[in-house]
């Protein structure tokens, strides 16, 4: 599926990129402190003066001529201080950051902030949690990085009918967890990537994934996608990796 020599995950990530998006803030003056968040995404930023109190402003996301959605200034605090709370946290489920991630799907991002990467991945896990069935795929650079997430994924698999597939370089031996399959990435095919994918339990509308590559130490270049064909190919590839593993 990939060009010669190109990592399949990179090809999938590039396929997930969509048409350019525009984020327009409406308010009395530019929301300069949001720029640090929005600048991480490859989107065009605009500001349109509107004589309302700053707390009454909002932002609108569009793709070409298509209006995608809006986020109120009440949620802007959440964009500044992203929530890495787990999917079953009700406040996190309503977070504006996750709304933004969904609206900006298909726009590439570059992040050097691990906490914000976790918050981005949570958007995918949250959908899986709400669906409560299907398969969730999560890659780690190494299984030792999975160690601190064991309780999160044990709960995701334990409280739902979700099956969870975890991939990573085998530098740590996880305990057996019901509903969680561990795949040792001996070949190192995916250790440069941070992937979280939900197969939608067969529903195209629920399929989603984050595909990020560590492009420099601690810097991830990636994309969130809701394109069902990309998600299908991604999960098929990860199934292949699992099947070919030890």
């Amino acid at each position: 599926m990939a060009a010669d020599g190109e990592p399949p995950l990179r090809a999938l990530r590039d396929r997930a990129l969509g048409p350019p998006k525009t984020v327009t803030t409406f308010g009395p003056e530019p929301y300069d402190d949001l720029t640090g968040v929005l600048d991480r995404f490859d989107v065009e930023l605009r500001h349109e003066p509107l004589p309302v109190p700053k707390s009454s402003g909002y932002l609108v996301v569009r793709r070409g001529d298509e209006y995608l959605g809006a986020i109120s200034a009440a949620g802007f605090d959440d964009l500044r201080d992203r929530s890495g709370a787990p999917p079953w946290d009700a406040t996190a489920a309503a977070s504006a950051y996750r709304d933004l991630v969904a609206l900006l799907s298909g726009a590439s991002f570059e992040m050097d902030d691990r906490g914000r990467m976790v918050a981005t991945a949570r958007e995918i896990e949250d959908r899986a949690w709400r669906a409560g069935r299907g398969a969730l795929y999560v890659t780690f650079q190494s299984l030792s990085a999975f160690e601190e997430q064991v309780s999160t994924y044990a709960r995701l698999a334990g409280r739902t009918d979700l099956s969870v597939a975890v991939y990573g370089d085998p530098d740590w031996e996880p305990p057996p967890i019901d509903g969680v399959d561990i795949h040792r990435d001996e070949a190192g095919e995916i250790s440069d990537f941070w992937v979280v994918a939900f197969d939608g339990a067969g529903e195209d509308d629920d399929k989603c994934a984050m595909i990020a590559e560590e492009s420099a130490a601690g810097v991830f270049t990636g994309v969130v996608t809701y394109d069902p064909t990309v998600v299908d190919d991604l999960t098929a590839y990860l199934d292949d990796v699992a099947a070919s593993g030890p």
Binding site: E48, P51, A70
Partner: protein
């Protein structure tokens, strides 16, 4: 004629009864002119995420409402010039009555406080008097 210079408050209030029309004017006071597409984003975002209770609305419906109903109504009231073929709206400025009413409406639209209609009318009256109307 320019709106409000005769103190025709009931017509001002009638025209501005629809929130879409007020939002358009709030915006145009800062920009003077705008495309229909920008106004459709503005109003859809306002309904979905702006001041007041948020609700979901289809942008296509908002755009159609602006094009067929609200912008022609604002044009007929002399508050804006709307070119339906070019999709362009301009506002050369409001009368003092119009400004006063719009200021009060903006304050009401962006706060929890209920609108004090009597006070609003009195303020518009004063402004109308200042205009010599």
């Amino acid at each position: 004629m320019m709106f409000g210079d005769g103190g025709d408050q009931s017509r001002v209030f009638g025209t501005l009864a629809d929130p879409e029309r007020r939002v358009v004017l709030y915006y145009l006071r800062e920009h003077e002119s705008a495309s229909l597409e920008t106004l459709a984003d503005l109003v859809t975002g306002w309904v979905e995420a702006g001041p007041g209770p948020d609700r979901t609305v289809a942008r296509d419906d908002v755009r159609a409402g602006l094009h067929h109903v609200h912008l022609p109504a604002l044009d007929a009231a002399g508050l804006v010039d709307y070119d339906p073929d070019g999709g362009r709206v301009t506002c050369e400025g409001l009368s003092r009555v119009g400004e006063t009413v719009l200021d009060a409406a903006l304050a009401a639209d962006t706060s929890e406080a209920p609108v004090d209609l009597g006070r609003l009318l009195a303020a518009a009256d004063d402004a109308g008097a200042d205009d010599g109307g």
